[in-house]
Symmetry: C2
């Protein structure tokens, strides 16, 4: 079982993770894409109840896109009861309510409960039904709780791998520390305030020189607005330097053009004399 050893080297995300039990899956492709979806979220234990086309199935391997450890570690059982015999807390996914009195939870709630149970040393599992008609009522009765994915009531039929993906996603999210929003700085770092003030001073000096800020009573608000634009952009130190290069480039070009334009006029020749082209 190559999958078993590899699963021990997985991140702690997979410790206590639920077993994914596919009941009589018909298409090998769906088993493979379900395996890929599992591994995307660190789930590694797949159980197959009586897969239609037998096992192993090369189509499943192809569709798994590299999630080989899940496919290789998959175990086959004759029925849902056998596949869940060692499970303490069993969930069953259904798209629609059955005429059956049963606790029904969302994927968010189900995976939160799985984490609580796993922390208490309990093994959790979740049944997924056949592509065409899901789980039988007898299979649903095996479970403690039904999981139903909230969805468009006019189009509520999920591909089996998609349903597996959403459970995996919610399982992973339950212990994921990714901040909701962050700024990826790539290889750079934010410009500090001295670097930003250096940029502002450079820009304002050139704008004073070219006359852009010549209206004295508008100068303070114009400066504030310009500083605010660059403040808001969250510049990196490299970007602040790049912008200073841009300012110098524009100012030098203006200077050169002024020199070039002034040369043909003999009356202005003395003014441009010190400039470099």
């Amino acid at each position: 079982m190559a999958g078993t050893n590899k699963s021990r080297t997985q991140s702690k995300q997979s410790a206590g993770a639920p077993a994914i039990i596919l009941v009589e899956p018909q298409l090998g492709e769906n088993i493979g894409t379900a395996a890929r979806a599992m591994l995307n979220f660190g789930l590694t234990e797949m159980r197959l109840v009586n897969p239609r086309d037998g096992w192993p199935n090369p189509r499943a391997v192809g569709a798994a896109s590299g999630a080989d450890m899940v496919i290789e570690g998959a175990r086959v059982f004759p029925d849902a009861a056998a596949a869940s015999a060692d499970i303490d807390i069993l969930f069953a996914t259904t798209a629609r309510p059955r005429d059956m009195i049963k606790r029904v939870v969302t994927p968010t709630q189900a995976t939160a409960e799985m984490r609580v149970q796993a922390a208490g040393g309990k093994r959790c599992g979740i049944l997924f039904g056949r592509e065409r008609w899901g789980l039988t009522n007898d299979e649903v009765v095996l479970a403690d709780t039904v999981v139903t994915i909230p969805s468009n009531p006019a189009f509520a039929s999920f591909n089996i791998a998609m349903a597996v993906l959403l459970i995996g996603y919610e399982w992973y999210r339950g212990a994921d520390a990714t901040p909701p929003a962050q700024v990826d700085m790539g290889r750079g770092r934010l410009a500090n305030k001295a670097e930003l003030l250096g940029l502002f001073a450079h820009l304002e000096a050139e704008l004073d020189a070219c006359g852009f800020l010549r209206v004295a009573d508008k100068r303070p608000s114009m400066v504030r607005n310009l500083r605010n634009i660059f403040q808001r952009a969250g510049l990196s130190e490299q970007e602040a330097r790049t912008l200073r290069g841009v300012i110098s480039g524009l100012a030098d070009h203006a200077h050169r053009r002024w020199l070039a334009e002034s040369k043909p006029d003999p009356a202005k020749q003395g003014v441009g004399e010190g400039g470099e082209v």
Copy 2:
């Protein structure tokens, strides 16, 4: 555009929903499964940038499993800039950080922001990259914000339709009122307290009669434990009646057996005389 009119009759879930923009998708099957995933969560606006195998694509129709309105309404654009020209707030999905200073959010955060923007009348869109190598850096730069799905760092490559599904799921969840946990009563209703107490009294009377509760100092705790089992089960009115039938059935059988066993013994014949077999 059949899709356009139908989308107006969708639930309010789809009002202001983001446009799903697939950039140079290669396989028609992936376009179809992405369409199915979209409609599962009420998203209906699909845009395709330069799909490899042209458009329309019969493989997409097959894989959409009935999400025809999404496929029929899909529009084709020459590049990502054209596909997002009328979008106010554009997101881009990427699996891995780029060497680019960019705000990065989770799907939960992204769809929460989309709902805020949509409520303000803004159009949102989200770019999904090519199957093999995602979005180019030039395409990522078009977007305001990057969305990265938190996932197993050792296996972070998502099928494109799976990524679309997760965004749709989070979008839908953001306005979904499904309680995290509830008890589906099927066609039944919970037994009320009078019905439960009737069941308890019935059971206890039969247990008194058969001698199960004969140890007087254990009787109170035994009664409490039994009542607690059935209280905890959250019985429906029908189930309470069924259990009373079970009790009667067991008690009557015991009575009949007692009569039958007592008949062969002529000494006891008088005792069983009034019984019916």
